[in-house]
């Protein structure tokens, strides 16, 4: 499906001449990437098992992620015994970055506001070695089923799964004196970065949806900051590239809360957040945010920011 005219214009405004390369990448198939689930198996043992199946494995920029180079049948990656046993999670490389920035540690209490289907929650639990506590929340019941199934398959034992509106859960927790060391807001978004894996995104894309989502994302980040401990970390991420859902949301948080955007390093090539968009000028700190463009690492597109609550 061809992208809508306005979408093309906006990508042109963000990338200039390079937008052709972006659109070329949207037509390419995604790499087959898996994340080793260290809660169940070591990296080396999994590599050995997969090689014994005749699969060609290649390292990636992130140690726990592996690329399957072999040609597989459709669905073969998800039907493999090793997947059923929870030895790996099929996850795009860019989507593994938000938990890396969150740096969850054993013993911490962490809120994952919009957790389903669980790729990042299972990664966070793995990084915490099943110690500490994760509250994994999602509002949609069908997505929650996928979350629960993935948590069970991956052997995650330190998580409480809740089914609530993210704004409500944050409000209730803060009111009752429950504050978090770290919060992940992997916000619902227009999904521009996922066109390669799901072409229906192009069909659904429209500017009103972006405006609606931007308003929701601002509410989400506000509620999440309210239940973050002083000096706590909030990671905000989306799989979209539109500034209204990214830099504009971070700019809003900087204007309204005592937070700062921290500098971070990632194992992927990223570009800084943009400061000017359609007549708006954002706080200079948004330059510390990271834009992951599909053409830079042959991945999906992503946006990630790390906020620290000052008090």
């Amino acid at each position: 499906m061809e992208p809508k005219k306005l979408f093309v214009e906006r990508i042109n405004a963000l990338l200039g001449e390079e937008s052709n390369i972006f659109f070329d990448y949207t037509k390419k198939l995604l790499k087959k990437i898996i994340r080793v689930n260290l809660l169940k198996i070591s990296r080396q043992d999994l590599i050995e098992k997969l090689k014994n199946k005749g699969w060609e494995i290649q390292n990636t920029a992130y140690r726990d992620a592996l690329e399957i180079k072999s040609k597989l049948l459709p669905g073969q990656l998800g039907k493999a015994l090793e997947h059923h046993l929870g030895y790996y999670y099929i996850q795009e490389l860019a989507s593994m970055m938000p938990p890396l920035i969150l740096e969850p540690k054993a013993g911490e209490i962490i809120l994952d506001c919009c957790a389903a289907p669980g790729s990042k929650t299972t990664q966070i639990a793995m990084m915490m070695k099943n110690q500490g506590t994760i509250i994994a929340n999602d509002v949609k019941i069908d997505r929650l089923k996928a979350l629960v199934s993935n948590l069970e398959r991956c052997g995650v034992m330190n998580t409480i799964v809740t089914r609530m509106n993210a704004l409500t859960i944050c409000k209730k927790l803060a009111k009752s004196g429950f504050f978090f060391d770290k919060i992940l807001v992997d916000a619902p978004c227009s999904g521009e970065g996922t066109i390669r894996g799901d072409s229906t995104i192009l069909k659904m894309w429209n500017i009103n949806m972006i405006k609606r989502l931007s308003a929701l994302q601002k509410k989400l980040i506000s509620s999440a900051i309210e239940c973050l401990k002083p000096q706590g970390t909030l990671v905000y991420s989306t799989c979209t590239l539109t500034p209204e859902e990214n830099e504009s949301v971070i700019d809003f948080a900087l204007k309204n809360f005592n937070v700062r955007v921290e500098k971070i390093k990632l194992p992927l090539k990223t570009r800084p957040g943009i400061v000017k968009w359609q007549g708006q000028t954002f706080n200079e700190q948004v330059k510390n945010c990271h834009r992951i463009w599909p053409q830079d690492n042959n991945t999906e597109g992503f946006f990630i920011a790390k906020l620290r609550k000052i008090r």
Partner: protein
């Protein structure tokens, strides 16, 4: 309703775990009753008191991981529990390639292993859940979502 198992019940389960499977869990955890006979394991560091408060405050779907089915002094480990705790366990029966395929399809195995009761199944160093040996058969408990058809 959230029911965290009391100390005496928990010790009973721990004893069965060690006696039947030779498993000792090496970290702190709560055991939580889920439904009539199901037990979940939660390794989170929240004290029981905070868990109870959260239970009143939030719409909790599940806590931790489904750990075991516990009825009539018998403990049947869940499929996912066995893949985590089963590697160093006792009472493990090795399966052939054909048997493993059958087992993962959810079928019982016609296999006389000389013992009765719950056992763990292994294929190529992978633990494939818990089965019940009747003497002539091994009854299958692989959950539908883990079956490979």
């Amino acid at each position: 309703m959230l029911e965290i198992l009391k100390r005496n019940k928990r010790i009973e389960i721990e004893n069965l775990l060690e006696k039947n499977y030779g498993i000792k869990i090496p970290f702190k955890y709560h055991l939580i009753k889920a439904g009539k006979d199901k037990i979940r394991i939660f390794t989170g560091n929240l004290p029981a008191q905070d868990l109870r408060i959260m239970n009143k405050l939030l719409t909790i779907d599940i806590i931790g991981m489904y750990f075991a089915f516990f009825k009539d002094q018998k403990l049947r480990l869940s499929f996912d529990s066995t893949t985590i705790f089963g590697k160093a366990a006792k009472n493990i029966i090795d399966l052939s390639d054909i048997e493993a395929r059958k087992w993962l399809k959810g079928q019982d195995l016609d296999k006389d292993i000389g013992i009765r009761g719950y056992i763990l199944l292994r294929y190529d160093s992978n633990i494939l859940g818990c089965g019940k040996s009747t003497g002539k058969k091994i009854l299958n408990f692989v959950p539908k979502e883990r079956r490979i058809l």
